[in-house]
Amino acid sequence: MRKLSAFNLATLVLGIAFLYLPIVILIVYSFNASRLVVVWGGWSMHWYAELAGDAPLLGAAFISLRVALVSATAATVLGTLAAVALVRFGRFRGRLLFAAMIYAPLVMPEVITGLSMLLLFVAISVDRGFWTVVIAHTTMALCFVAVIVQARLVDFDMSLEEAAMDLGASPGRTFMAVTLPLILPAIAASWMLAFALSLDDLVIASFTTGPGATTLPIRIYSEVRLGVSPEMNAVCSIVVAVVGIAVIAASLLTKIGAARGAPAGN
């Protein structure tokens, strides 16, 4: 490895500080004993204990968790199927359009996704609530899943599937016994990513939610508008921890997948 020059080191430190300093301050202040957000009053777990008694906040956290679990799972199944269709079924009619439509939401501003979902739900007069948020999050996360799984499928050695069929496995058995185990790390990674995306989404959720389905980010946002409280710092620290673990797990799984999927040739 090359040695970092002083200049490179300085830019690196600045960059990382720019990214992570706010988060570090947030986490540190979540352990602040003082009620005043900007005054340091010594270390304490007080606000974490306080959280445990805050029923509305815990309720919102529980809803967010459920939304994230359901939408991540649905997005993973649908996104995987979309990726398989894109990679495996060759040049079917409308493939290019399908591919473009899968990728478009990646770059679509969330406000537009959220607004269009809202219009759809209003148009077909669906009562907004838990399930509308789940559907909206599934739509958003699906394209991320499709992109990750597709990347894995593209460099998948097709002769493995042919070998399985040659040995008597039907196409369905081949997918379950050979393809799926080999792309599983990529699928798990995309599930983690979908979970993290859903858990911290504010914009789409606020467009599509309804009574009784206040997610954690919505709750935090509305609380903070009335003034930043140390309790919110504690909630956010927990969310950072959960999302951080999910993202790290996802990247580790992707690495394992790449190593495992490497062809067994020389």
Binding site: M165, D166, A264
Partner: protein, 385 residues
């Protein structure tokens, strides 16, 4: 891996089911065509393969060998023609229902399964009881000398070991036909030689029918009962190795298999000589199956050209009736034999080879030396196309 005794390496002289018209072939291919776009990778090809045969497909890169195997295995759909196994048309049968197995050039071992898991995969699809699967996997691993490697993953094996796992996996279902696509391409020369003999031994012991694709002529000659020489989707000749080498049916085959000296001429009036070649009039062994005056080619293998300091004696034992004076251009020493490049006074290039045996070292001939080349009538192969 031990080298199998030389006994198995000997061609089976009495094995020639293709000459017996009462026998039904195991695999019959009729007018098979496969087009990729407008390009025919396999072009109106017909072929019959008999039970117990070791059949080799030989041909230059891109001639359609892999495509033919993939058609038999069911991975490609034929554009036209039929493939019959035991008289049953295979075309509507999907790959997983065909009683043929393929050993892939890349081996295609399942990286997430152990060696034993890979070998057991095919048996599991048949729904055999666990105990029976374990027994057959054990037998198969013993057969390829991998008894102690059952719990390893493919990436923990050497190239040669992987190749044997792939072989075991494709053999364990006892397929009617085993298709091998360049199975030894990844092995070094020594291991390849050993594996060739093991394959032959295995094939004869289990009484299976093998179709092997190879780039390597000596490999095809070593293992096969019959060789099919392919070019651009066509079969040029299908015959036992010795016949392919000694009686090629065309200039293309003569040139593709081994080295050859080729001379164009016209059939002489006596019907057993060729006139007007670059070497003048050449006498050949048998009556030529063409009218006098018809254009033909004479092919002579380099090892049939004898070199000497003087013209051959007219009454010599070998009836060396074709004599040419030439100058040695250069010698390539290959250890067991040497290749001599020569040129006649008229500038015709010739190639001769001689085994490096005996106290008489051919090194006594040096560049620019004048030598006489002669070859017997019987060594002249006459080709009409």
């Amino acid at each position: 891996m031990q080298t199998v005794g030389s006994k198995q390496g000997v061609a089976r002289r009495d094995f020639a089911p293709w000459t017996d018209h009462t026998l039904a072939p195991l695999l019959r291919i009729e007018g098979l065509t496969k087009r990729f776009g407008a390009y025919p990778a396999v072009d109106n090809l017909s072929l019959a393969i008999y039970p117990g045969e070791f059949f080799a497909l030989l041909g230059p890169s891109g001639c359609g060998k892999t495509t033919l195997l993939r058609l038999i295995a069911g991975f490609e759909r034929a554009s036209a023609g039929r493939i019959l196994l035991d008289g049953v048309d295979l075309l509507p049968v999907p790959p997983h229902r065909r009683p043929v197995n393929m050993m892939f050039q890349s081996y295609a071992l399942f990286p997430h399964l152990t060696v034993a898991g890979n070998v057991a995969f095919g048996l599991k699809q048949e729904g055999l009881p666990k105990a029976q699967i374990a027994k057959r996997v054990g037998e198969m691993l013993a057969l390829v000398h991998l008894e102690n490697f059952g719990s390893r993953k493919p990436h923990e094996l050497s190239g040669g070991q992987r190749q044997r796992v792939a072989l075991a996996r494709s053999l364990v279902k006892r397929p009617r036909i085993l298709l091998l696509d360049e199975p030894m391409a990844a092995l070094d020369k020594k291991l390849r030689g050993e594996t060739q003999f093991e394959l032959m031994e295995l094939q004869r012991r289990l009484g299976l029918t093998f179709i092997i694709v190879t780039h390597d002529q000596s490999e095809a000659m070593t293992v096969a009962d019959r060789i099919a020489v392919m070019d651009r989707g066509h079969l040029m000749q299908v015959a036992p190795p010795a016949e392919i080498y000694e009686q090629p049916n065309s200039r293309w085959v003569a040139d593709f298999i081994g080295s050859v000296n080729l001379f164009e001429g016209r059939v002489g009036l006596d019907g057993s000589s060729v006139e007007g070649t670059a070497l003048g009039r050449l006498r050949v062994g048998a009556k030529i199956a063409a009218e006098p005056g018809a254009p033909v080619w004479v092919a002579v293998r380099p090892e049939q050209l004898r070199m000497g300091p003087n013209p051959a004696e007219p009454d010599a034992q070998w009836a060396l009736e074709n004599d040419v004076a030439a100058t040695l251009a250069d010698v390539a020493y290959l250890g067991d034999l040497s290749i001599y490049r020569l040129r006649t006074a008229a500038g015709v290039p010739l190639q001769a080879s001689r085994a490096n045996v005996g106290p008489f070292a051919p090194r006594t001939i040096a560049s620019n030396d004048k030598v006489w080349l002669n070859f017997p009538r019987a060594a002249a192969i006459v080709l009409t196309q």
